[in-house]
Symmetry: C2
Subunit: 246 residues, 2 copies
DNA sequence: TTATTATTGTCTCACTTTGGAACAATAATA
DNA sequence: TATTATTGTTCCAAAGTGAGACAATAATAA
C-alpha cells in the first residue's frame, strides 16, 4: 500500500496525476442480508460523494483503481469491475468542489487542478462491509457505509452513477454465473447454508427468488461441496452446510 | 458537421482537446451477409489503426463520439455504444505515432501532445457499410472496410479492442432484444424476408441459428408486420416480406 | 403440360427448464 | 408427546428449445 502521493497542499497542479481524468467508485458492501455503499462526507458542507481517485502518470488505469480501493477500504484482491465512463459537461460544476476546498482551508484559485473538468471512469466493487476499514481521503472527513435504499443526496451526477452501477451489477449477476469464488465467497462465511446463499442473491437483486428453483440451479452448477449438517438452535430441521469447490 | 478543429500542424499542444484522453471506434459495417470493420491506413508505414478522436474542451464525451463517427462515415443517428475504457501503460508506445507523424511531414518533438500517454474510451457502432462515405482523418491516407475475419495486424492494442467490442456486441444482441428499430432497421431494406433477418443475426453472432426456432422467436416478439409475398425469381415458394412495427 | 427443385411456413415430438406447490424429515420448543 | 418452523426433495403443469418432418409453392427443366 503506497501513499506516495504529494499532499494536496503541496500539489496545486496535480502533477503526479493524469490531468482531467478521475475514477469514481461504487463500493457495494454486503453482510447478513444488508447491502450498503460507501460514501464520503465533507464536514460543514452537507455534501456527500462517492469515493474517487486519480491515475498516476506511470500507473495502469485498473491498477490505480485497485490502489484507491485499497486506500479507502484497506482491502486488496477485491471483486472489481469497470462499468462506464462519464463525460458529460453538466457534471463539470465547480461550486461543490470550491465549498469542499474552502472547508478544508485550501485556496480554490481559478486555476486549481481540482476545479477543472474531469472525465470519470466508473468502477463498482463488492465486498463484505465488516472486513473493510473505511478511511476518508485527504479532502473528506468521514467515510461511512449507507443503506442502499436510504442514500443521502449526492454531489454532481453521483446518484446517476450509483444507479448505473447497480444496474450493471444485477445484470452481471444474472449472466456471468461464473467465478463464484471470486465474488460470492468473500461475502459469506467459509461454510454457509443454501438459505445464506439465496439471501445474498435476493439482497443484491432486490427481489425474492423461489426456494426450490434456486436450490436446484445452484446444485446443478456443480460448484458446491455439501458438508455436515448445521445444528443451529432453531426449532426446525438442520440445514446442510456448503462451501465453494476447490 | 463542424470541422472547427485547429489543423494538427498549427496545434502542437492539442489545445482544443482534453489532454491525455482519446476515443477508439470499432465501426462494424454490415451488408448482404457480410460483416466488416473500418480501418485507417497510414501510407508508407504498413500501419493500420482503428479510427479515433479526441474530446473538445467544451463537448460532452458521447457527443464527441458522434462527431468523430460522423467525420469518418458521414453518418448521423447511428447505433453507438460505449463499451470499455482502456488505460494500460503498455499501450503507451511512441514508436508507431512517430513513424506516422514523420510519414506525414510532421516533426515528432518529444513534447508533442500526440506522443503523450492516452487513456482511450472504446465505442462500437453498427451501420450499413454501403451507406457510409469512409473518410480518412488528417493523419491517415485511407479509410477502408476490412472483412472482420481477415483483418491486417493493428497498431498497439487495437486488435484487443476489436475483440472486446465484438464480444460486447454479441452479448448485447443476445439480451437487449429490445430496440430493433434502432439497430437492425438501418441494416436491412425497408422490407425484408425472415431469411434476411436471420442472416443478419448469424453474421453478427458468427454462427448458424435454427430456422424454425428463429422464426418462432421473432414472430412471438410482436415487433414485425407481415406484408405481401415477395415473388423473387427463385425456383421456390415466395417468402413473406416483413417490416418493423410502427 | 408436367415433373423437378429449392425454399418457405408451420407443425410435431421429444427434451429441458421453470414456477409453484406438496410432502416427509427433523431439530428445537411447548 | 405434540407443535412449530424450516429443510431437502419430489411432483406436475406450463413454457421454451432443438431437430426434424411435411405440405405448399414459385420457378425451371423436361
Amino acid at each position: 500500500m503506497s501513499e506516495q502521493i504529494t499532499p494536496l497542499e503541496q500539489n496545486p497542479e496535480g502533477i503526479d496525476f493524469l490531468p482531467g481524468l478521475a475514477m469514481d467508485f461504487v463500493i457495494f458492501g454486503y453482510h447478513q442480508y444488508q447491502l450498503k455503499i460507501l460514501l464520503l462526507e465533507y464536514r460543514n458542507t452537507d455534501l456527500f460523494a462517492l469515493p474517487g481517485g486519480f491515475v498516476k502518470t506511470h500507473e495502469n488505469l485498473n491498477d490505480a483503481a485497485r490502489r484507491v480501493l485499497a486506500e479507502r477500504t484497506s482491502l486488496t484482491n477485491i471483486y472489481l469491475e469497470q462499468f462506464y465512463t462519464f463525460g458529460d459537461l453538466d457534471r463539470y460544476d465547480q461550486a461543490p468542489m470550491r465549498t469542499i476546498m474552502q472547508a478544508k482551508g485550501l485556496v480554490p484559485t481559478d486555476e486549481h487542478w481540482l476545479l477543472r473538468r474531469f472525465i470519470s471512469v466508473g468502477y463498482y466493487a463488492l465486498i463484505d462491509f465488516t472486513k473493510a476499514v473505511p478511511t476518508p481521503d485527504p479532502l473528506s472527513d468521514t467515510c461511512t457505509w449507507y443503506d442502499l435504499d436510504n442514500l443521502p443526496g449526492l454531489m454532481l451526477d453521483h446518484t446517476n452513477i450509483v444507479q448505473k452501477a447497480l444496474q450493471t451489477l444485477r445484470a452481471d449477476l444474472d449472466r456471468k454465473l461464473i467465478g463464484y469464488d471470486s465474488w460470492a465467497a468473500p461475502l459469506l462465511a467459509k461454510t454457509f447454508t443454501m438459505a445464506d446463499l439465496q439471501k445474498l442473491y435476493e439482497t443484491i437483486l432486490g427481489q425474492k427468488l423461489r426456494r426450490s428453483s434456486f436450490q436446484r440451479k445452484m446444485l446443478s452448477l456443480d460448484i458446491l461441496d455439501r458438508l455436515e449438517k448445521q445444528y443451529s438452535g432453531g426449532a426446525h430441521k438442520a440445514p446442510y452446510l456448503y462451501q465453494f469447490k476447490q
